[in-house]
């Protein structure tokens, strides 16, 4: 059985050592998915497998036979960018752009986890039906995706603007400083 990449059936590599990341980058020339460490430490290689986020450098391609993989190249529909891609541009959620595909794929998977009510390390009340998507909750869930340029604020703003419909807590500025004091 082949592996499905962005809707297209692709043969599995002959060499079982080939990671899903290398399959994408070196065999299929889908270089949008990035390699930042090849050790599962940076998140730059995050892709979606049947809608769930995984780190593709730590996944062997042969493990994903028959599964549907979505990479950053597969997010836009027709000529239209995914709303999160548009939000990243609007909120300046990147500088060099190298961690960006991983951040975007990760955030899409993360939003689905929130939607399903999966708790995180910072979820205060595990009994609630719905998890409050606070800034802290988003930040915790995105902390596996490193950014070295320091676009963290823009990334959070883009994610919140795309997926969170209620106001998330914003903690900067004189008004909130008043509230904190």
């Amino acid at each position: 059985m082949p592996i499905i990449i962005n809707g297209a059936a692709v043969s599995l590599p002959d060499d079982p050592r080939v990671s899903l990341l290398d399959l994408l980058r070196e065999y299929l020339h889908l270089a949008g998915t990035k390699m930042g460490c090849n050790q599962g430490a940076c998140g730059a290689c995050t892709v979606l497998v049947d809608g769930e986020r995984i780190i593709s450098c730590l996944a062997l391609a042969v493990q994903y036979e028959g599964r549907a993989i979505t990479t950053v190249e597969g997010l836009a529909t027709g000529g239209d960018l995914h709303p999160l891609q548009r939000a990243f541009i609007e909120h300046d959620g990147f500088q060099c752009g190298y961690c960006t595909p991983g951040q975007i794929c990760s955030a899409i998977g993360m939003a689905a986890e929130l939607e399903r009510g999966l708790p995180s390390h910072v979820t205060a009340d595990l009994l609630l039906d719905e998890i409050l998507a606070s800034r802290e909750e988003l930040a915790e869930r995105m902390s596996g995706n490193l950014c070295r340029c320091g676009a963290h604020n823009g990334i959070m703003d883009a994610i919140a603007a795309t997926f969170i419909h209620t106001e998330t807590s914003r903690s900067t500025g004189p008004d909130s400083a008043e509230a904190a004091a």
């Binding site: 270089a31 541009i89 300046d92 930040a139 070295r148 604020n153 903690s171 400083a177």
Partner: protein, 777 residues
């Protein structure tokens, strides 16, 4: 460096000192920047507009091609094996199993590598780019733990990596100097930076300190750091008809092309480096051994080569920031006037580079004090060449200086902002030059108000929320304005009104192409979509490194020079029937896709009309700006007032940053969206410097122990609060566009602002970075 190099540097330094004096005394109008750039007053156009990155759509869809993303026919993959000793000789190198491994095309070692010249060391000459000047794989000598000893080429990366793991080396080990304490016991050396001694002295600072009624005298230490851009260092390269063509991740394309040409002893134009997208650099993406090894192997194999370093490989062959041990001693009168300012200490370099971490740089222009003593000394270790990392000098120097200012403020019972304002100098305290523009007091006032500084409790350890102690701290950020020699740009204006800019600059995430397109459009009276900005290519004009936060100014000055040349050409072409007839180029400016008389805008002729009448398809000009004498005529620096709110858990000692504000004075801000990101990015790297970053160097073996992103901690999303940034936006009248660089200043002052906030929260003064929880328990 050998004695000859040192002598050469000293002579350059002396010549520069004479020149500096002459330029300092020259009238303003003789100096570049003597006439303000009219663009600095532009209010309603593209200057200062929050334009989104022009390359945004490419980057968010994964279509921007980075260095390792150029598939080439017949390409082979490279892997490296590294030495496991710090000093000695290779006794034996067993490559037999590697050579027989599947897919292997070449095993290159010092036995079969082509003869190569050592690379010219960065700063040793105008276009040099190498991190050190050691010969590359030319003999059996080992100079550091992690030096490449073999390179494998194979059909796939998996095959190359496997073969590299089969290499077996034995060594004749020699005593390596890898302990700072041991090296120091044998003596330290006065450091030089860019040809000048890192030493300043006026008055008798030690005597003044002894007599001062209020004083602090403390030692601050900072560890090694690594840049850790998320993109691994990589090249995809090939030889074609004697030309070496390199797809690279570069912040010095022209310098690196020159350096490679010297290594391979070929004409400079026979090396072409392109690097349109760079996945972060921060000082690390210059020229290192992997470039040379990959190019040599490609020549031997006659095939294109891809070499992407592993994350460990980056730590082994790309240098980082050196550790420092700094003494800051301040003496003051009861009203807070500094009488003695001492900033001195020790850092570490190698015998093969010229980069002592220059941590006194921020102190030179910081505060008025009657007696000043600044001094950097170093020892040399057998280690990988250390290098420039975001705000070299200032990032760690401001940690020591601004922590000490906080300590002094407490001894005086004075607000730390007030202490800083009372010591504001009227002219540069060490060079004596007037400031080009210095509005730090305004940055302090607006920042303090916005941050709510008045709510800070001066007595430490008195604010508690649940199990968290809360405190506020502040510090001054500072970084110089630089504009290095060698700038040039080409403008091509076509009859349909489009302009192409060609300049060999770099885009590592700063927003270079976006901002320079804005500036060029505004300067030429065009809309931004009429501009095509070509960059990241060593064949384009200009020697402009992405370093020293100078790229915006150097590029702006180059385009301004080309624009002046373009006006001259157009005025000449316009002819007698033009409304511009009889005008000198200086009397005309641009508006609405044409030229007009500056003080009589109705005298206007469009570019299309001028070219049409002259029957020209295009006009092409190339020009260089005058040398950057403005930096010798004025003291030119950006500043920031940094405010931090920190929380420390009383049970675990864990420090968290809950609020941060940077209030900057960096001249005119050209694009608030990309500039804010640069400021925040610097501050976030500063939070890493303050709280977690440390390259662990094993002083027994000389090996970096945490050569990966799991053990070297950088700030992650949950470590980063919302960071507020504001700016004065007051143009510097002596810089292109009125702007000064914004890329590095954010990391300065941040370490001290955090440390001072943690002190205010807990009463614990941590003088040793990073401030990890064990130091707070």
């Amino acid at each position: 460096m050998n004695l000859l190099d040192q002598a050469k540097q000293a002579v350059q330094g002396m010549a520069q000192a004479v020149m500096t004096k002459a330029v300092a005394l020259a009238p303003d109008s003789w100096v570049p920047g003597g006439q303000p750039d009219p663009l600095m007053h532009s209010k309603h156009g593209l200057i200062g507009a929050p334009v989104s990155r022009l390359d945004g759509p490419l980057k968010v869809t994964g279509k921007a091609a980075f260095a390792a993303e150029f598939p080439l026919p017949d390409m082979v993959y490279a892997a490296l094996a590294y030495s496991t000793i710090a000093k000695g000789r290779i006794r034996s190198l067993d490559i037999a199993r590697a050579e027989k491994a599947p897919g292997v095309v070449l095993v290159m070692t010092h036995h079969n590598a082509p003869r190569l010249q050592p690379p010219p060391l960065f700063l040793s000459e105008e276009k040099a780019a190498a991190g050190d000047n050691l010969p590359v794989m030319q003999d059996d000598r080992i100079h550091w733990n992690g030096q490449p000893i073999a390179l494998i080429l194979a059909g796939t990366q998996e095959q190359a990596d496997h073969a590299a793991s089969l290499i077996r080396a034995t060594y004749i080990e020699e005593d390596a100097q890898i302990s700072i304490a041991a090296a120091r016991a044998e003596g330290t050396t006065q450091s030089q930076f860019m040809g000048q001694p890192l030493h300043n002295e006026s008055g008798d600072a030690e005597a003044a300190l002894a007599e001062a009624p209020f004083k602090v005298d403390a030692t601050y230490t900072t560890p090694r750091h690594n840049h850790n851009p998320i993109e691994l260092h990589a090249v995809t390269l090939f030889w074609q008809g004697g030309v070496l063509r390199v797809h690279d991740a570069q912040q010095l394309v022209t310098h690196s092309a020159f350096t490679l040409s010297r290594v391979f002893d070929i004409p400079e134009e026979k090396v072409i480096i392109t690097s349109p997208y760079v996945g972060g650099g921060f000082g690390s993406k210059s020229l290192w051994q992997h470039h040379i090894l990959a190019a040599a192997a490609a020549r031997m194999a006659g095939r294109p080569v891809r070499l992407m370093l592993s994350r460990e490989g980056v730590y082994r062959i790309v240098g980082g920031r050196s550790p420092t041990e700094q003494r800051v001693a301040l003496g003051a009168t009861a009203d807070g006037k500094l009488t003695a300012l001492i900033h001195s200490g020790l850092t570490v370099k190698t015998p093969h580079n010229a980069m002592p971490e220059p941590f006194i740089l921020p102190t030179r222009s910081a505060y008025a004090a009657d007696n000043i003593l600044l001094d950097v000394r170093h020892v040399e270790l057998d280690m990988l060449g250390n290098t420039f990392m975001r705000a070299p000098g200032e990032a760690v120097g401001t940690f020591a200086l601004e922590s000490a200012m906080d300590e002094l403020a407490e001894k005086l019972g004075m607000d730390p902002i007030e202490l800083r304002l009372r010591n504001e100098p009227e002219k540069d305290p060490t060079s004596g030059l007037p400031f080009s523009a210095r509005h730090i007091a305004q940055a302090w006032r607006t920042g303090a108000e916005r941050f709510g500084w008045h709510r800070r409790k001066p007595v430490p350890g008195t604010v508690r929320e649940g199990e968290w102690l809360v405190g506020m701290g502040c510090a001054t950020a500072t970084y110089p304005y630089y504009r290095m020699p060698g700038g040039a740009a080409r403008l091509t204006l076509t009859s349909d009104g489009h302009v192409t800019v060609d300049v060999a600059v770099h885009e590592m995430g700063m927003g270079t192409a976006t901002v320079q397109s804005q500036v060029t459009a505004e300067r030429l009276g065009l809309s931004i979509d009429m501009i095509r900005f070509n960059y990241g290519d060593s064949t384009l004009p200009g020697l402009i490194m992405a370093g020293g936060s100078q790229q915006t100014a150097a590029t702006g000055a180059s385009i301004l020079a080309a624009y002046d040349a373009l006006k001259k050409e157009l005025v000449a072409l316009a002819g007698n029937s033009s409304p511009l007839a009889g005008l000198k180029p200086d009397e005309v400016g641009s508006r609405d896709a044409g030229l007009c008389k500056l003080d009589e805008p109705d005298r206007y002729d469009s570019y299309a009309a001028i070219l049409g009448r002259a029957r020209r398809e295009e006009v092409r000009v190339e020009a260089s700006p005058p040398p950057p004498l403005e930096t010798m005529h004025w003291s030119m620096h950006s500043h920031g007032a940094m405010f931090c709110e920190a929380r420390v858990n009383i049970v675990t000692g864990e420090p968290r940053i809950s609020r941060f504000l940077g209030s900057f004075d960096c001249g005119r801000i050209l694009n608030p969206k990309t500039a804010a990101s640069q400021f925040r990015g610097g501050i976030i790297m500063g939070l890493g410097l303050a709280l977690m970053e440390e390259t662990q160097f094993d002083e027994r073996k000389g090996r970096i122990m945490n050569a990966n992103l799991a053990d070297y901690h950088v700030p992650v999303h949950l470590d980063v609060p919302e960071i507020d940034v504001i700016w004065t936006d007051i143009p510097d009248p002596h810089t292109p566009m009125g702007a000064r660089g914004v890329g590095e200043i954010g990391i300065t002052g941040t370490g001290a602002a955090v440390a001072n906030a943690i002190y205010n929260a807990t009463g614990k003064r941590i003088r040793d970075l990073p401030i990890t929880l064990d130091k707070l328990l």
